[in-house]
Symmetry: C2
Subunit: 250 residues, 2 copies
Amino acid sequence: MNKNTGVNAAIIIIGNEILSGRTQDTNTSTISLWLNSLGVKVQEVRVIPDIEDVIVKTINIVRKKNNYVFTTGGIGPTHDDITAKSISKAFNVKYEVNKEAYKILENYYKLDEFNEGRQKMSWTPSNAKLILNPTSGAPGFIIDNVYCLPGVPSILKSMLGGLKNEISGGKPIISHTINLRTVESEIAKSLTLVQENNKDVEIGSYPFFRAGKIGVSIVIRSDDKSKIEVCNSQIFEFVDKKKIEIIKSS
Amino acid sequence: MNKNTGVNAAIIIIGNEILSGRTQDTNTSTISLWLNSLGVKVQEVRVIPDIEDVIVKTINIVRKKNNYVFTTGGIGPTHDDITAKSISKAFNVKYEVNKEAYKILENYYKLDEFNEGRQKMSWTPSNAKLILNPTSGAPGFIIDNVYCLPGVPSILKSMLGGLKNEISGGKPIISHTINLRTVESEIAKSLTLVQENNKDVEIGSYPFFRAGKIGVSIVIRSDDKSKIEVCNSQIFEFVDKKKIEIIKSS
């Protein structure tokens, strides 16, 4: 939980609809995979309700512990969209009309369509930098190391492309997966040894059930390709000895 | 964030595979929907890595703030399964063989199959109560208000049924959804008024895109059916006035 071990990020999913179980969050994996490719590792995700006090406190905790914080949700036009106002409060800055955002929305909507609800979407923390939205006009925003994105997955995805240059990551995190026709308990001891011999590599073991057959995925993650290769060959060694079928290695 | 407003829960998803984006968490919505039906409201979800120190700290924060804590993941046989050990540390109790769990697993596996990895799954915090697993043998466990479940969604689901009597919830939380053929900004002002008139009801507004058409779902949540009905009729009033098409109300 410190900034010294690579570049880290937190994701804060803001929305009662996720907590209630009504909506299945998919933004976490979208943002995480994108950040991996930029050399940023997500070290925590929190899902919190649309409550100002909770948003303020959560943001002020995570923004100090992480290089980057990404929020999703709560930047639309309705009463439950309180992210921009809450983030302003967290940073103790004014919550006000962002002139650039106002212009973008003014151009996006026809004159008689640019109503009060839509105008609300031009409000951001004072001096926030905008994140452009190629899908539906209303921008996200950046203040310090906090990046605020919408909750609708397709819109969020469309906005990540333009953000790439804003992120200074470390070396991209490489992930290598070995799928085996076995059960976890069969390989647990040998895999523990490989992990102990390679302490700075992240090795995960995940059972799966596909088409009625069981198996285990071993996932090796590191920003150093050669370290992944060392683990890989140590794993293949015991797999070979135990005569375990390799389904796929990728 | 206090225990006085109904019965609350936190969900802690333990697993690097969720943080890396490799695996899409679905356990949050499974547990949340199940808890809603028992009158328990999930007020926070955290996804954390397979790091003992982080698990210990997180559990010790959330177990004091919530009536119930549910963890998923990290109770299998491999080196990255450190939930039981970490929870023992959080509660400052011994991490040891649970005799009941050992018996269950001994009966579940053939004699020559009950290897070291599988025996590891019988270790729990001292005096933990078991959560039976009708799918794959290895039990979860309960210590104080913390309920530890596996990460594999199908196994987790199969274990919730047996847990029902362990949970003392409040009144079940009822959710009512009104789907409208409109955009959020069209109804934002009127919906804000309804929320202001019904402060103790949770009203959410969620845009959707289905089959090329846009719409808005208004979700009303409360444990009091009559309060939902009041909101419902106030919403239908402005929907009617604005001549907005109702797609479905459920």
